[in-house]
Amino acid sequence: MFEQVLLAGFGGQGILSAGQLLAYAGILEGKYVTWVPSYGAEMRGGTANCGVTISNRSISSPIVSDPEALMVMNRPSLEKFEQNVVTNGLIVVNSSLINCKVERKDVQVMYIPANKLAEELGNNKVAVNIALGALIFLTQIVSLEAVMESLGKVLPPHHQKLIAINQRALKTGAQYFDHLAKEKAG
């Protein structure tokens, strides 16, 4: 069961908001949740990351230093956090922007071309939610429905019109590995 995930990318990709989506979904499911951003100098224009904990028990330390699942949207984030993932953990890699392979052999690695899929949907900015959809499908940390519902809480009032495309992005991501598996089987 997954409880602690780390989302990482560069500033502007929507990493912190994606983490909040997970956290809100956790609230909707009646869980304890915490969300901790990287803050300070490194955040401005550089890498952005946030750790989200979703648990049935009250959360002692909110710091996600050894994530069970890592979602990386750019290469510096993969290089920074690859070694921190627990053994048998999961790494979801945005293969649109990360042109190398994960070196570790003791974790499950799933590659998804999030930006390419986002462009196919007509909006490059929803790439983060494509990766998030995949992360949710692979970890079942929260339900996709709860995340869909959370969009209304996390998107600011002037972005509420983007709920629909973000929901499509989440679905696209969630179905990606499902489809791949079926294609292989078929």
Binding site: I27, P37, S60, S61, P62, I63
Partner: protein, 355 residues
């Protein structure tokens, strides 16, 4: 009411608005800046005043002025900024005016870093500035508790006419947690016969911080001291967690207390009788919690877990007064205590195991 996700820093702001605070003066410093960001937007919505001053010195003296005029007022900063405010805080304490000051600590000494630490404990609990005075110090350990304690802070400030310091760290300020926001409670502003807001035909109202005649200064110090003694008796707050049959009692506040709760749960699953005292008021320090636990007779050791090189441990030793050994485990400079490391310390004491 539905739960909303809120940052600790924002919760200080929202809690203050709900408690009827209508004046905020401050100067930005990480890791508390979101508090000011939040109030810059929120204060005007309720007809309040948000002002970014030119420095921390100006901020605290604006707080002094507003409090003297009878306003419900707050400021916030982080370590170095709080140090700059100490002169003003001493004056406010001397003048016996109510206000709330938030310190989201940063790693020091010096300019330090913005990672979570608890190294301003001494400064907070010993007054902080010059002169013989105390602040009531509140230490929340979750975002929900921030909201609840800010209300409490303004009540205490006006009950005792004393500045209140709320102590948090960067992690508490930056993290988001769900909070339950009740319907806004009606807040009550007591009469302020002491406020320099016009004599209205009555006697002169004077706010004084200068007692040049020693006899008068001693009388004023005596009066302040009576107040502090009353606070020590009436306002100790703490949380006991699994202390009833505990042989080892951890003592921790704020973020360190969160980690320690995890330690207690982990140890209990392994059958180790471990508990936690979490001081909520750091001053007055909850001596009573220790008297109570010692009266149960099961406790063999206390272990202070702090994000400093050991500051609260002095108050624990004063409270325990030699009745049991008090040990220490700390991480500092912005490093957090890790659950497994604290468990190792616990086992070292309880099982005499060397790691």
């Amino acid at each position: 009411m539905a739960k909303v996700l809120m940052k600790g820093n924002e919760a200080f702001g929202e809690g203050a608005i709900r408690a009827g605070c209508r004046f905020y003066f401050g100067y930005p410093i990480t890791p508390q800046s979101e508090l000011a960001h939040f109030l810059a937007k929120r204060m005007p919505e309720v007809g309040g005043t948000f002002l970014q001053a030119e420095s921390e010195l100006a901020s605290i003296n604006m707080v002094f002025g507003a409090a003297g005029a009878g306003a419900r007022v707050m400021t916030s900063s982080s370590g170095p900024g709080i140090s700059l405010m100490q002169e003003g805080i001493s004056f406010i304490a001397c003048a016996e005016l109510p206000c709330v000051i938030v310190n989201i600590m940063r790693g020091g000494p010096g300019l330090g870093n913005i990672a979570p630490v608890q190294s301003d404990y001494f400064q907070a609990t010993r007054g902080g500035g010059h002169g013989d005075y105390r602040l009531i110090v509140l230490a929340p350990s979750s975002v929900q508790e921030i909201i609840d304690l800010v209300w409490e802070a303004f009540v205490l400030a006006e009950k005792y006419l004393n500045p209140i310091l709320m102590l948090g760290d960067g992690l508490l300020g930056q993290m988001m947690e769900p909070v339950e926001l009740d319907e806004e409670k009606e807040f009550f502003i007591p009469l302020r016969p002491w406020a320099a807001s016009g004599r209205m035909g009555g006697p002169k109202r004077i706010i004084n911080t200068l007692y040049i005649v020693p006899e008068e200064a001693e009388k004023h110090n005596f009066k302040l001291n009576q107040k502090y003694k009353e606070i020590e008796v009436k306002e100790q707050r703490w949380e006991n967690y699994q202390t009833k049959d505990a042989q080892l009692v951890l003592v921790a506040f704020g973020t360190a207390a969160r980690v320690c709760k995890g330690v207690v749960d982990y140890c209990r699953e392994q059958g180790l009788p471990v508990g936690l005292i979490r001081p909520i008021t750091l001053w007055p320090f909850p001596d009573k919690a220790f008297d109570y636990i010692l009266s149960l007779g099961t406790v063999r050791y206390f272990l202070s877990v702090e994000m400093s090189t050991g500051q609260m441990i002095e108050d624990i030793r004063l409270a325990v007064d030699g009745r049991r050994p008090v040990h220490f485990y700390g991480r500092f400079g912005g490093m957090l205590p890790v659950l497994t490391d604290v468990v190792k310390e616990v086992k070292k004491l309880l099982l005499k195991e060397e790691p």
